[in-house]
């Protein structure tokens, strides 16, 4: 029957013949073929029979058919000997191997860290199951002419969603606030989530212990595992009572109803304590149906996708009523966004209570950094490997003469690179967590290896290492492969020790390390710049205490007793991103238009204490009642409304009242990071009954000591937790500290990559000298001086370094400017001389090192060099 039919697939048959043991080949092949023809005889199509044959060939790859003859033994022993050789050679070159292993390992752990950042995003919200039908409600509002997307909606919408709008299966609400929690006599500030009672069910929040039975009915709170441990140690927290301060005057006592399992960092709802919205609304005495309240919460809906359009339309119909009664916020439209989807990037992000995926600057910075450092490490590996081959030319020649195939030489060299990669893998896995702690620890919480899917990490690293081995190992391996043994033995092979490829690699590697160094130094300069940036007021030694007005008098009196301390009161203190400021309607007498401007109501000697600088005019005079109708304005206000003309003694209307301008202050910066422009500001005088801040200045005194005294006085007079904040931390927010952190990271990376580059050029120089040992010796015999020799031998290196200096300097300048601009509104400009200096520093250091290498043979006996081999 077989004569008329197509034979089985040839490739499969070849594969079978390759693995099958010879004494059983005939019978087994016959069996497989017979099965194949039987299949065809059954009337199955050709492809089916082919697939069946392949399947059988694969299935037959078993113990009974595999050859266990000597050839396999040879293969393993061959690999064993490759391995042994690789080990021996690595041991011989411990130095460069160690540099490569650590360099590559650290670069890889940096890459793993970046991977965890991406994994953070990819696995975001994977903690919540069954979220396909859940939608977030986004409210689009307008802020200074720009549409803004907020993940919140008015509290009153809650009622509409639950009662008026059909087609919604479930509604839950979420709100997060920083609240003071009192346990016994201790106060803690915690992130408290306030959720409706159906929230735990909707998102299937797993409890470690406890239950949701009383949730929403009795005042109950739920803690996360770390917080429960912090409060109660190993004790069971159930039934314990905590006091939550919802505002200065409202507090609520609640029993612990349960403790949550660990909630991963990369989930939308990140909190420490959970309480019910019903309790919250009841305690604050808010009418949940009142559209004019300023309470906004996040809403989450569970509904059938088919209903989405209609429900959105229904929700949007509530807008006119809402906007009419609520003057605070005008909503343009509502949108339903699938819960699992990322935040749409079409509009500017506004307010939301939930955690977001990582985006923007940190991802870009760290990815760039990781790629640069990784490439440097790879180039270094390739470079040193090529350089080392030069020493092993004879070995390759002998092996090839003895019958070793080119492929085996290739495998041998790949194996050696593979060995380094393997060791680097171990280093990388061991240091990955340290790296992310070292980097992210500076910013707060670190996302560690155990927090992501480990399989993903391993696959990522293995793929990366295979890539490294191939990229870094293939070059030298191919290099070794193409040698002709006869040519090697005849010594006619000119190993172009430093060929074009090496040069390109070295220049690239150097440029990269110079770039990293420049970025590090620029960030360093920037944090200095931020430290010295003139904010228009002093931050040195100033502590701000927010205090209820009833305690103010008493407290100030006591604080004034501390030696070397000045105090002042204010209703609207400067700082904290302008959060304490209020808004006023500003109107020129000649104009009917009013403008909403930032306003600071301050006490009498506030300006002196805060050292607010005046451009012209005067401040408020102490004890002068007549100053109540006087105001100060900022320079930007003068520029905007008076076109820079004289403003002193001009009269303007503030909230409809006539006020006289008596002075012009410099512009006040209270947000270094995000302020898009200077904000026109008005400063006015206010009476003591409005004071909400006690500003304490202790210039030249140990702030810690002053703060301790303040705390003591505070606890004596005030029945609230102490919340003093040092002014310095205000304007910069976390970014002042971040700048220092980033600077540290870049400098460490610069040292690492610089070290790698220098190690790379060191081995290149060594091989270069080895290659030209005869030339050097002859030159020396003919009377060349050491200096001349160094210049001749290293000319090409110097050229390369110059090139790297220019390339790296330029790239470093441009990149650091871009990176800074991404993060800061106010930042230092990177300077050209500094960039060039960085490059020159690295170059000079390298030249110094390579000239040392050249000196070694020069100082040794010349006869040795001339005799060579």
């Amino acid at each position: 029957m077989s004569q008329h039919q197509k034979p089985p697939p040839r490739l499969a048959l070849q594969f079978f013949r390759w693995y099958c043991r010879h004494d059983r080949l005939e019978e087994l092949e016959g069996d497989l073929e017979e099965c194949y023809y039987l299949r065809l005889a059954e009337g199955k199509p050709q492809w089916n029979a082919n697939a069946f044959f392949w399947w059988n060939v694969i299935r037959c790859f078993r113990k009974y058919s595999r050859s266990n003859s000597k050839s396999r033994f040879n293969m393993t022993s061959l690999f064993k000997s490759y391995f042994k050789l690789a080990l021996r050679h690595s041991w011989k070159n411990k130095g460069s191997v160690a540099i490569n292993v650590f360099g590559l390992g650290l670069a890889l752990s940096m890459c793993i860290f970046v991977y965890t950042l991406y994994a953070f995003n990819i696995e975001f919200d994977s903690f919540y199951t069954e979220t396909e039908d859940i939608y977030r409600i986004h409210a689009v509002t307008e802020r200074s002419g720009e549409q803004v997307r907020n993940e919140f909606s008015p509290l009153a919408l809650d009622y509409r969603l639950r009662e008026d709008i059909s087609g919604i299966d479930q509604v839950s609400s979420y709100l997060a606030r920083n609240l003071k929690v009192k346990k016994g006599n201790d106060f803690f500030t915690q992130i408290v989530s306030i959720v409706s009672s159906d929230f735990p069910e909707m998102f299937d929040m797993p409890l470690w212990y406890g239950s949701f039975n009383d949730f929403g009915k009795l005042p109950t709170v739920y803690l996360t595992k770390p917080i429960a441990t912090k409060y109660f140690g190993t004790k069971v927290a159930l039934g314990e009572v905590l006091t939550l301060y919802l505002s200065d005057s409202v507090k609520i006592e609640a029993t612990v109803g349960g403790v949550f399992e660990n909630i991963p960092l990369n989930s939308s709802f990140g909190f420490e304590v959970l309480m019910s919205l019903e309790d919250y609304v009841r305690a604050l005495d808010v009418d949940a149906n009142d559209q004019s309240t300023e309470h906004f919460i996040g809403h989450y809906l569970k509904l059938n996708a088919a209903q989405k359009e209609r429900v959105t339309a229904d929700i949007n119909q509530t807008i006119p009523r809402q906007n009419e009664s609520n003057k605070l916020l005008k909503i343009e439209r509502y949108e339903l966004i699938p819960f699992a989807a990322g935040m749409p990037t079409d509009l500017t992000e506004g307010v939301s209570y939930v955690t977001r995926r990582l985006r923007g600057a940190p991802l870009i910075i760290f990815t760039t950094l990781a790629v640069i450092v990784f490439l440097t490490a790879c180039f270094n590996l390739a470079n040193t490997a090529i350089a080392l081959i030069a020493r092993r030319l004879k070995e390759i020649g002998v092996r090839k003469t003895l019958g070793s195939g080119s492929r085996q030489v290739l495998i041998q060299f790949l194996m050696e690179t593979g060995l380094i990669s393997l060791l680097a893998f171990i280093v990388a896995m061991a240091t990955a967590n340290l790296t992310s702690k070292a980097i992210m620890g500076l910013f707060g919480a670190a996302f560690l290896l155990q927090d992501v899917n480990l399989t993903g990490v391993i696959i990522f690293v293995v793929v990366f290492l295979l890539f490294t081995t191939l990229v870094a190992g293939l070059l030298p391996a191919l290099y070794a492969w193409k040698f002709q043994p006869v040519a090697i033995m005849r010594k006619s092979v000119k190993l172009k020790g430093v060929n074009l490829l090496n040069r390109i690699l070295t220049v690239a590697q150097y440029s990269f390390s110079i770039v990293v160094l420049i970025i590090g130094i620029t960030f360093w300069q920037n944090s200095e710049f931020l430290d010295e940036l003139n904010l228009g007021y002093t931050t040195d030694g100033v502590i701000n205490l927010r205090v209820s007005n009833q305690y103010f008098e008493e407290l100030r009196h006591e604080v004034d007793q501390i030696p070397g301390v000045l105090t002042a009161g204010a209703a609207n203190h400067i700082g904290n991103f302008g959060m304490y400021s209020s808004k006023i309607q500003f109107q020129l007498l000649s104009d009917t238009m009013t403008h909403s401007l930032r306003f600071h109501a301050v006490g009498e000697n506030y300006l002196e204490v805060m050292e607010v600088e005046l451009n012209s005019g005067r401040g408020f005079i102490e004890g002068a009642d007549s100053d109540q109708d006087k105001i100060l304005v900022s320079q930007s206000l003068v520029d905007e409304f008076f076109n820079g003309e004289e403003v002193l003694n001009q009269v303007v209307k503030i909230n409809g009242e006539r006020k006289t301008i008596v002075g012009v202050t410099v512009d006040i910066i209270d947000d270094v990071v995000r302020a898009a422009q200077l904000l026109p500001t008005v400063i006015g005088l206010t009476e003591q009954k409005n004071y909400a801040h006690l500003v304490v200045k202790a210039k030249g005194r140990d702030l810690d000591e002053v703060e301790a005294q303040l705390k003591a006085i505070w606890s004596e007079h005030v029945d609230e937790p102490y919340e003093g904040v040092r002014q310095k931390h205000f304007a910069f927010g976390s970014l002042g500290r971040d700048s220092k952190a980033i600077q540290k990271i870049f400098l460490v990376m610069a040292v690492l990559s610089g070290f790698l580059s220098i190690a790379g050029i060191f081995s290149l120089a060594k091989i270069n000298v080895a290659k030209r040992i005869k030339e050097i010796s002859i030159r020396k015999v003919l009377g060349a001086s050491v200096k001349e020799l160094i210049v001749t031998v290293n000319r090409s290196f110097m050229l390369m370094l110059m090139l790297a200096m220019i390339l790296g300097g330029a790239a470093g300048y441009l990149i650091s400017d871009q990176v800074l601009g991404l993060i800061y509104k106010y930042h230092a400009t990177p300077s050209v001389p500094v960039s060039l200096l960085c490059g020159a520093f690295v170059a000079v250091l390298s030249i110094f090192i390579i000239s040392k290498v050249v000196q070694i043979p020069l100082r040794s006996n010349l006869v040795e060099g001339l005799r060579d081999d």
């Binding site: 029957m1 069996d31 099965c35 009974y64 058919s65």
Partner: protein
């Protein structure tokens, strides 16, 4: 009774080799197995068991004469050894003995 190490499937294959006397080679056994049990099986499973049984001494084999059907390739024919026939007998007897010791009531489904 000395201990015979024979798996369930192995026993089945032994029986099939016996049934197909003189024509017992893997492809035939596969077909016979499917015919008798109605279940499908891959040829590699049969190969594995046949070679294992040969190793254990239950089977012996020889190569057949070459025929044109398999492109001239010979096939390996398997035969039961006396050890195998003894084992099969013993197993069958044991089963039969046990089967007849089961009380009648046990075989009717007892609703009470």
């Amino acid at each position: 009774m000395e201990k015979i190490k024979l798996g369930n499937f192995e026993e089945l294959v032994l029986l099939l080799v016996g049934v197909l006397y003189d024509q017992a080679y893997s492809v035939n056994i596969v077909q016979e197995y499917q015919k008798q049990t109605g279940k499908k099986i891959n040829i590699s499973a049969i190969h594995t068991v046949l070679y294992r049984l040969e190793e254990k001494g239950f089977l012996e084999s020889k190569m057949s004469d070459s025929t044109s059907t398999r492109g001239g390739k010979r096939k390996r024919l398997f035969y039961l050894t006396p050890y195998a026939s003894k084992a099969l007998d013993e197993l069958a007897t044991l089963r039969e003995q046990l089967r007849f010791q089961i009380p009648k009531q046990a075989l009717t489904w007892n609703k009470g």
